[in-house]
C-alpha cells in the first residue's frame, strides 16, 4: 500500500506525541519504570519499550538501579531517570535596549547568560545582535543544543515564526524562525514577549496547581499574556491602545491605557503631582526618576507618590476586572518595570479590583508580582521545552 504524505505526517506526529507523553511522565515523577509508564500513559508496552530505547540512545534517559517488584512479585523493574543535562535550550528576550539570552538545561535551570546592547540598532543590525547572543551562548554549550525560543515585542505570528511588525526594531515581516533555523539547524519558537513572561510565571512562579494565568505587563506600554490550560494562547494581549472610557470629543489619546499606564505618561503624571504637593520628595524635572524612586517616596508617606500609586492601581484594577470577567483565570500576575512599585501597588490593585467585580468571581483567584529578572528569556526556555519535548 502506498503511503500518502498524510500517513507519514500522522505517523511522525504520533511518535512525537508518544515521546512527549513518556518524557513528561518521567520528568514530573509520575512513573519511573517501563511498566509504570505503560500504565500511567495508557500506551502499549512494546511502544513504551521502543520509545524508551530511543530516548536512552539519545542520552535523554539513563537506566539506574532497580525499583521495588510489583505486588505480584517477579523481576524488579529497571529504574529510568531523566537527564536534564543531556541537552541545552536557549531562551532569548529581545527588547528595545538589548538582546539577552539564557542557556538552560532541560529542567529550566540557567547555566549561562549573554547579552548584547542594541544601542539604537535597527533592521539587519538587530538580527546581527540576536545572532551574536546565540553565538555567545553556543560558545558555552556543554551538550547539544535542542532548540531556541525567542520573545519579541510587536505583532508576532507564532505559528509561522514571523515577526510581522516590530516598529522599535525597524522590523517588518521578518521571518525570524526560518532565518535562525537555516543558520543553526534547530527548531526555533517565536512568541510575543508578554506571552512568554506569562509562561515563565506559570511554570516557575508561585503558582502551584493552576491551569490558567493572565499576566498584565506594564512598561513603556501595556500588554496582556495568557496561559490557558497550560499552554500559551498566542496572538492576544494588545490592549495598550484601547480606551478606559469613551473618549470625550477632542480627547483622542488621553484615555488610552498606554496614555495612563505607559512610563512616559507615568513620569509626566508624577511631575504634575509633585507640583501639586509642594514639599514632595519625588525627584523633580531634570532629575532622574524611576519606579523605585516613587516606591521609596510612597513608603515614606509622600502624598504625591501615594496619589500616583492610587491612580495607577485604579487603572490596573479596571484591566484586572475585565480579564477576570472575561476569562476567570486561576491566577493574575503583574509584570514589567511597574512591579518596582512593589506589593503596595499589587495589594491596592487587588483591593480595588474586588470592588469592581462580583465577589464570587474573584473568590479563588490568586495574585502575584512577576518581578524575577529575565522573565521573558525564562519563558522562552519554558515554551521551547514544552513545544519540543512536552516537558512543561
Amino acid at each position: 500500500m502506498r503511503r500518502s504524505s498524510t500517513d507519514k505526517a500522522t505517523h511522525s506526529h504520533l511518535r512525537q506525541h508518544n515521546r512527549q507523553l513518556l518524557l513528561r511522565a518521567l520528568y514530573s515523577g509520575l512513573a519511573d519504570n517501563r511498566a509504570a509508564l505503560a500504565q500511567e500513559t495508557g500506551l502499549a508496552k512494546p511502544t513504551v519499550s521502543e520509545v524508551i530505547s530511543e530516548l536512552i540512545e539519545e542520552g535523554l534517559l539513563v537506566e539506574e538501579g532497580r525499583g521495588q517488584s510489583t505486588e505480584e512479585g517477579g523481576k524488579r523493574p529497571r529504574l529510568l531517570k531523566f537527564v536534564p543535562t543531556a541537552r541545552h535550550v536557549i531562551g532569548i528576550s529581545l527588547d528595545e535596549e538589548r538582546a539577552y539570552g539564557a542557556l538552560a538545561i532541560l529542567n529550566g535551570q540557567i547555566v549561562a547568560q549573554h547579552y548584547v546592547e542594541l544601542a539604537g540598532a535597527q533592521g539587519e543590525a538587530v538580527v546581527d545582535a540576536v545572532l551574536e547572543v546565540i553565538n555567545g551562548l553556543i560558545a558555552q554549550l556543554d551538550a547539544p543544543l535542542l532548540c531556541i525560543g525567542i520573545g519579541v515585542s510587536g505583532i508576532v505570528d507564532a505559528e509561522q515564526g514571523l515577526v510581522e511588525v516590530a516598529p522599535h526594531l525597524g522590523w517588518r515581516s521578518v521571518p525570524l524562525a526560518a532565518l535562525l533555523n537555516a543558520r543553526y539547524g534547530v527548531p526555533i519558537y517565536i512568541a510575543h514577549r508578554t506571552e512568554l513572561a506569562a509562561m515563565a510565571q506559570f511554570v516557575y512562579g508561585p503558582t502551584n496547581g493552576i491551569n490558567s494565568l493572565a499576566m498584565v505587563l506594564v512598561g513603556t506600554g501595556v500588554g496582556v499574556g495568557l496561559v490557558i490550560n497550560g499552554a500559551i494562547y498566542h496572538g492576544g494581549g494588545e490592549i495598550g491602545h484601547l480606551f478606559l472610557s469613551t473618549p470625550r470629543p477632542g480627547n483622542g489619546h488621553e484615555d488610552r491605557l498606554e496614555a495612563r499606564l505607559g512610563w512616559v505618561a507615568v513620569r509626566q503624571r508624577a511631575e504634575s503631582l509633585r507640583r501639586e504637593y509642594p514639599g514632595s520628595r519625588l525627584p523633580g524635572e531634570g532629575e532622574r526618576l524611576t519606579y523605585l524612586h516613587i516606591r521609596h517616596a510612597a513608603a515614606n508617606g509622600d502624598p504625591a507618590a501615594l496619589a500616583l500609586l492610587d491612580e495607577l492601581s485604579g487603572y490596573l484594577a479596571h484591566i484586572f476586572a475585565w480579564i477576570i470577567g472575561l476569562l476567570r483565570p486561576d491566577h493574575m500576575a503583574l509584570a514589567g518595570p511597574i512591579t518596582n512599585l512593589g506589593t503596595m501597588l499589587l495589594d491596592r490593585t487587588v483591593e480595588r479590583t474586588q470592588h469592581l467585580i462580583l465577589p464570587a468571581l474573584t473568590q479563588h483567584i490568586t495574585y502575584s508580582l512577576a518581578d524575577a529578572p529575565n522573565l521573558v528569556a525564562l519563558g522562552a526556555v519554558a515554551h521551547a521545552l514544552q513545544r519540543e519535548l512536552g516537558l512543561v
Binding site: 549561562a112 546592547e117 560558545a139 523605585l292
Partner: protein, 274 residues
C-alpha cells in the same frame, strides 16, 4: 603544530588572574591549544612593555584592563579574535566575560537586611569609572530604595585596602551610626573588618561586614561574601575566544552567576547558635 592562545595580563600570580589563567588553560588543553602568557607587571619586578607576538596567536585574551586601548584597536584591526575578562571597552566590539555584579549585590543586601536585620548600611565603593564598580554601586543604590532603607553612607575604597581602611576609620571617628558595611570587593571587606575591630567595634555583633568576590584571604578573614567561580570565568572566556577563532561572531557580555558564601562576619550564624 598546536594553535596558540595568548593571554595578556599584568600579574599572573595575583589570585584573581591566577584563577582566570587556570580556567583558560583547562579549556585550551581540552580543545587542542597551548597558552602563551604575557605577564608584564608582576609584584617585585619592574614593569616592562607588552611583548606578546599577537600575530602568531590564534586569538588573544586580555585580563581586565591589562592592554591599553591602542593595542586592542591594533589587534582588532589585524583581525585577531579577542576576548576580555572583567573588562569592557564600549567603543570596541570585543566580547567580555563578567561576573553578575547586579545579582551579587542583590544577594548581599538581601542577606544583610532580611537575614541579619541590618538597616543603616555603609558602602565601600571600587574604582570610579570601572565597570564592575559602577554596576555594583548602581545595584546597591537600587536595593537601598527597594528595601526603603535610610540613606546609606558612601565610603571611598578604590579597590585599595589602605583607602578602604582609611575611609572606615573616618566613618567611625565621625560618630556616625551604622550597622553594616557592604564592600565592593573582598579585600576591602577584610580591611573593613580589621579596621572596625581595631577601633573596638565588634564584628559581627555590632556591625555586619560583607564583601564581593572570594579567595583564601576572604576565607581567612571569615568574610561573608558573594563568590564568582573565577576559574569558571577563565573557562568561559577561553570558550568564547575559541568559538570566535572557529568562526562564530560574538559581541556583548557573557555573564557568570555568583553565589552567596556565608561565613562569620555577617552574624547570621551567631544568631542561629544562640
Amino acid at each position: 603544530m598546536k594553535r596558540q592562545l595568548g593571554i595578556i595580563t599584568n600579574d599572573q600570580h595575583d589570585v584573581f588572574q591566577r584563577n582566570v589563567i587556570s580556567g583558560v588553560c583547562d579549556v585550551a588543553a581540552r580543545r587542542g591549544y597551548t597558552v602563551v602568557i604575557d605577564s608584564y607587571a608582576e609584584e617585585g619586578t619592574p614593569p616592562r612593555p607588552i611583548t606578546l607576538d599577537y600575530r602568531a596567536m590564534a586569538g588573544v585574551l586580555v585580563v581586565a584592563n591589562a592592554a591599553p586601548i591602542g593595542l586592542l584597536q591594533e589587534m582588532l584591526a589585524a583581525g585577531k579574535p579577542l576576548s576580555l575578562v572583567s573588562h569592557q571597552v564600549p567603543e570596541l566590539p570585543i566580547p567580555a566575560v563578567f561576573a553578575d555584579n547586579t545579582q551579587g549585590i542583590v544577594e548581599l543586601v538581601k542577606h544583610v537586611v532580611e537575614r541579619c536585620n541590618r538597616r543603616q548600611l555603609a558602602y565601600i565603593g571600587g574604582l570610579h569609572g570601572q565597570r564592575d564598580s559602577h554596576e555594583r554601586e548602581a545595584a546597591f543604590v537600587r536595593e537601598v530604595m527597594r528595601y526603603n532603607l535610610p540613606d546609606p553612607y558612601f565610603l571611598r575604597g578604590d579597590f585599595s585596602t589602605t583607602t578602604a581602611a582609611e575611609s572606615v576609620r573616618e566613618l567611625v571617628q565621625s560618630g556616625a551610626e551604622f550597622d553594616a558595611i557592604i564592600a565592593a570587593d573582598y579585600r576591602m571587606g577584610a580591611a573593613a573588618v580589621e579596621t572596625l575591630r581595631a577601633a573596638g567595634i565588634a564584628v559581627p555583633d555590632q556591625v555586619s561586614v560583607v564583601g564581593f568576590g572570594d579567595a583564601p584571604e576572604a576565607e581567612a578573614a571569615g568574610l561573608t561574601t558573594v563568590a564568582a567561580d573565577v576559574v569558571e570565568q577563565g573557562r568561559r572566556a577561553a570558550r568564547q575566544l575559541i568559538s570566535q577563532i572557529e568562526g562564530l561572531r560574538i559581541r556583548g557580555v557573557t555573564v557568570l552567576s555568583v553565589r552567596l558564601v556565608i561565613r562569620e562576619t555577617c552574624g547570621c550564624r551567631a544568631k542561629q547558635i544562640i
